[in-house]
Symmetry: D2
Subunit: 460 residues, 4 copies
């Protein structure tokens, strides 16, 4: 559901959206974008000699004048008879221009041309703050990756402590997911095109001037020019939907890990931010509020994207329902992803990292995490399978007896026949079993740095 | 995305929602429902001796006083620190009650108790007009089924005219789908329960009085009493989501058929309603606007339902994100389904049925539609397969030559050896090849009549 | 994708399905069910005088004879020209019956009648073992709920230890979710109906005998008789899909909690079962394999259900694609849910519960979990808000200083002015702050016991 | 669900898949790919000095030897204890290599490395025939666009004849959708990378040689080398899923239009192919079988893609269930999209286009389709709104009286005051109201030609 001022001003909106992104997605913004399209259309057609210049100027002037304060409620009510808000919008605009310009309002266009282009425009506009937020989140992740590149913690797989890694490596993974999603989103944004085909895509009313007007219109609005009208070719919408959902997933990965690392029993990170996360009933609690809300966004994005894909087949020259099914889900997906990006940036920027707790949690399993290291030590002499099985036996024994793995290993003659105590200690040293972690962190940071855009640097 | 007054007042809202349903789903309605819950909770606890009666009265009075005009924007803004709107709502309420009552505001409850119960309440309230609209749509379909029970038209399968049926049979199919979905929705609505478990579901703050207060609270609010707190058991939400999506699908079936039957080349039905469906560019067009919008709703509902199912696993005692992911999709699904139900009723009530065109369309295939009838005539003598193949050959021949099937049949010695010309004419008579259509129509009408509820009858 | 023998015999099948359920869902089972339908159809029509008895006997005999070993590959290949496997199946059957019976094979039916009924039949058959598995899972959960009704552990909300509950309460929540989903699934199974309408739903070839044959056919096959043909009314399919997804979610709730409770840092439960959960690289690991696979099933079910809902609108008298889109997702959903139900039963039956660790984990937060209890103690004298804030302050202080909450409380004059040390100790006693937990456990057990079916009792 | 030989050999498989694509996706192919990965891993590590060359040779030899005929059923059964098929596969391989090589089998790897890389490999391999099929479909669409660039037909919007366009323009729209989706799929295929990170992504067992081995492994297998291990960064999987769903949608657009254009009442195109589309009950029918099945695929793809997106957040270093949830949906999506691409190519290659019927259908509305053209003629003198309203009035009059629009226009003094009869006739000439249709067709053909790849040209 969409609202007049901005999603961020509704009851649940501030929890899921971001004011800067949502300002571009409000009902008023969509209505303004419609007039931006009508104005640009008149100007483009005047430039191509299809419409008299004075008419185009009058239309553009009327669009600018009406732009200020659209009456959403009235227009929405009057949109019901036509099935879309363009019909009353055009009727109002026509009434507002001088007589001589009236024949040239909305000239050659169909409702879908205007609404598709307006939605492309608001999408493009909202991607500005959205991509900046994403760049900010990436920078924050990069900072964490760099600062904590050597801070060890337990790598967990299937919920179990598995082997040692570094928190820098964790953050580098977050960073790279955000960067990859951002690249997809930029590409999808660059593909957003003007829609102008007239009733059935031929631009019949323009004679042969169609493609020239399309190009000019695209230049006017800062959108791409399509190869041919895309009324029923929704690949651009799907590319955008998929990219947005990928951003939501990349943000959801960060948030999901933060939720797990912030569990009472783990406690390795906590959300910063004063006064956040208090509970109505539980005075001692500090809930990871931002992470929770980003997680919620990541759960909602796939259903919205799926709706757009399921509505992706548009029949004939303009669709009966599939098109109408796109409007709200697309705007909702932009808003939701915008909120997730901003919230992830905030979350990463103020994340409290407890490297001491990370080390203590490693110690709690008595060296079991280094089992792979020990198995690697024993493999050359015992064979990989036998070494694996022997260490598994020792690990189970250590767990059962509640003693460190080292104790069991140094007391097992099969182990001591294959390795000295010193070798065992080396194999149990966590900082010596990090493999290529540092190299991977560096690679992720380089990839990030190479793709940062100057325009976005200034904002973070 | 949700808005303060009602979804129907946003830009796209009037196209997808219905004012009567949406009035129960607005942000203000949700906020009012929260106070209804707090008031009922205080009264229920007073009745069970958990809270002093004067405190409960004061709380209920404050809830009633604040009820009138919630400041959605302020509350929404303040909800961010806590991650849900209950925390500031309770804080405001507490500030508004006299000192003596303050310890008993929100007593024993957690945020999720209040929001889950409030959402159950708005859902229940919105189901009133929604089910009435659905009953109205059913009655309109029943009326069509009854009136047109003998009016023949081409039954179409895989887009091809296949055999003859009646428009009453078509409408009976619509009716039964609507009735079945309605039954599921009523059951899901009856299952909507109060949520009251306190922070982790034990109602620790109430000593042993928990179940008694839950029962009383349920009675106060007209909701079901759950067997045990359902903070992380979302079966009720899923039952509601599935039933709503089923209603959207049943409505979408009506709308989809109307769109196809209203095609220019078919023209068997048209949407009524003056001044509806005009095109911005095409003066001659009459678009099936209601059907198109219902179709759009049917395309959007599955994604919303899927989001609720995908967020259906809530971990531990209260979930990190899965719960938050429910709020907007559930409200959107209620609004969308409400709009679809109302629009389907309107559409059916003013549907223009062109029985003459139905008969003419039948004639256009030169009797090909009666191929099954002819094959049945020939099967006893030729064998089913041979009869099928022979009629297929004749039909292909008739189509190729552009002559009626009768011409080919009566000119084929293999056919005339097996049947007289009179038998062939009987086999080609459409009104004699309707099988049990009338019985099925009657059965669907009886099923509908048997399930109509007095309360809903008055409104249609 | 479907396979000839059974999903459980494919590469990933054994990880997601269950042999007993999958045996009913194999390609061969579907093909056998088609002949069961053809045989029952012949018998039902003979009983109603539509088909000669000897022909029906011959058809039934041929169906029984061919039943043993269908050549899936040949049939599948030949199904391409017609777009469904019924056409070649009927052709083969017709060739196999004696001359006199041939006109009566598949009499009056269309492909969709046979395939819809066959799928209803395999679904019904697979629900036998599926519901037994679910009943078994419920019994295992009930057993845990009963045995651990007084064993305290930390209730967690938003990933944080929030307040104390009992493991019996946790298991009672699992139980009730499973029970509710099971009830929905039983109802959906009972609604599975025969499909018999002929090409366009009129049963034209049967004269007026249609409804009588439908009733008889339903009785023959043990399925419900529909009010009217449901070729394009898919409410039954949607009810089944939703119920299956609800089962997957209820199972996923159990599995999700087990994964979290089994985390290395929590360690309150572990999957039993010798030799399960070994890692290829990490000798010490014991992965919660069953829980992981059930979690995966719960993630896949919503997408399959959504596909069925998105394909729920079937146009005209038989759909172009929406029907075809149902076949594999429905069978996959049955298999996946069957596997999840069985695996959840196994998981619950051998779950290792470490009540000692549960208590130790409670202690680790130094009494912070009892903050609500302490706030409740102080609320009458300080006011609810002030008490909440004071305890929050003390809890933060305790966490910062790493001392028990008791130490801070008894050292704070604002606290000691409002409560004695003894009162504080009582407020910090976990076993005295369980509210109605035991009553809720009892209620869930009673609900379960009241709904157990004798037929299912024997199997668990 | 997946099967041992190939999806195309299951009951429904041949209806949805394609043998050439499915051969790369069978269970056997996945198992073979796992050994391809193990062999390449050994070779890559030998090349980097991590593993002795003779051991690598022995491992590669054993992989090649076992490659021939994997026992899917046995392996699948043994995969249950570990939760994935890699564990028993590695155990078998280890047993098959000589003693000296055993420590180096699967060296440094975790199960997910092998399965992720194997799935990337089978995906990449299946994209060969899939992209060729798609290129073939594009070429067939291009041929239709070129041949029919001037053949007029009714452009339809919201199911209504709206204005005239050309069939070449329709086909150009199909072409461009297929081309755009193909480009996205190629890019996603190029992004498929080897996965090699060891248990927690650090490649601990390789010391510092990790990145070098990863690069070498990628070169060995012809896959991309990732920046860092992607165990829980699923952006590549999501990019592939989205691209596949886009292809399914682009194919579904073609198929959906064919279904509608092939309706009995429209009859402008028909599927070619002898003996296809026969009905079991209706001898005269010719169902658009391929289009129906492609439509079904387009309905199923979004749910599968949504499952992958919903499972896109993988927690910590390897996920509990989200990863397992990917396997079957990804393979199913590849198979389904492959089938849709092939079927669309076949469909387009043999499409029967009835240009005569297209013209006759245009004529049937008595010139109403040219309303926009007439309105454009009158707009300069009457004003756009008045012209629109006047033509709407005339069109409604023509429809009501059942006479050509020309009759009404030439009899209306308001019209004749503004235009001569000759001008009206010109305005009613369909071939003069095609705007830029030809230019758009040419642009789409050029875009297509510029992106054809030599490798794919040979195959079409």
């Amino acid at each position: 559901m969409r609202r007049s001022s901005s999603p961020s001003e509704s009851l649940f909106g501030p929890l899921f959206g971001d004011p800067a992104v949502d300002a571009e997605l409000s009902d008023a913004a969509v209505l303004r974008a419609m007039l931006d399209v009508e104005a640009a259309l008149a100007r483009a057609q005047a430039a191509c000699g299809v419409v008299p210049a004075p008419a185009a100027e009058a239309i553009a002037a009327a669009c600018a004048a009406r732009d200020a304060d659209p009456d959403v409620r009235s227009l929405a009510g009057r949109s019901q008879a036509a099935g879309n808000p363009v019909v009353p919008r055009v009727r109002d605009l026509t009434a507002a221009v001088p007589e001589h310009a009236r024949p040239f309002v909305h000239h050659g266009a169909t409702s879908q041309d205007v609404l598709d282009t307006a939605l492309a425009l608001v999408a493009r506009r909202s991607l500005g703050p959205l991509l900046r937020a994403l760049a900010g989140a990436g920078d924050a992740a990069a900072d964490l990756a760099d600062r904590h590149r050597a801070d060890v913690l337990a790598g967990r797989t299937l919920g179990q402590q598995a082997a040692v890694t570094t928190f820098g490596m964790v953050a580098a993974g977050w960073l790279h997911g955000l960067d990859a999603a951002q690249e997809a989103l930029r590409a999808a944004g660059d593909g957003l095109a003007v829609s102008f085909g007239g009733p059935v895509g031929t631009l019949a009313a323009l004679g042969g001037a169609g493609p020239a007007v399309v190009d000019r219109l695209a230049a006017e609005l800062g959108l791409a020019a399509p190869v041919l009208p895309w009324h029923t070719d929704r690949q651009r919408v799907l590319a955008l939907a998929a990219a947005l959902a990928r951003v939501a997933v990349a943000a959801g990965k960060v948030a999901g890990d933060v939720v797990l690392l912030a569990q009472s029993e783990v406690g390795e990170v906590a959300e910063g931010g004063d006064g956040r996360g208090g509970s109505s009933a539980l005075p001692h609690k500090r809930n990871p509020v931002d992470a929770v809300l980003v997680t919620a966004a990541a759960r909602r994005a796939p259903g919205l994207a799926a709706t757009l894909f399921a509505a992706g087949v548009h029949e004939h020259q303009r669709a009966t329902g599939a098109w109408h099914a796109e409007w709200e889900p697309l705007l909702d997906l932009l808003s939701l992803t915008g909120g997730a990006a901003c919230r992830t940036g905030a979350l990463l920027g103020r994340l409290r990292v407890d490297t001491g707790r990370m080390r203590r949690n490693l110690a709690a399993t008595g060296g079991l995490l280094m089992a792979e290291s020990v198995a690697a030590l024993l493999a050359p002499s015992l064979g990989r399978t036998a070494a694996h099985d022997l260490v598994a036996e020792c690990a189970a024994d250590a767990a059962r007896r509640g003693v460190p793995l080292r104790t069991v290993l140094t007391g097992d003659p099969r182990v001591t026949a294959a390795a000295t105590a010193e070798q065992i200690d080396t194999a149990l040293d966590e900082t010596r079993w990090l493999g290529s972690a540092q190299q991977f962190v560096t690679a992720a940071l380089r990839w990030h740095a190479a793709r940062r855009r100057p325009a976005e640097e200034g904002t973070t």
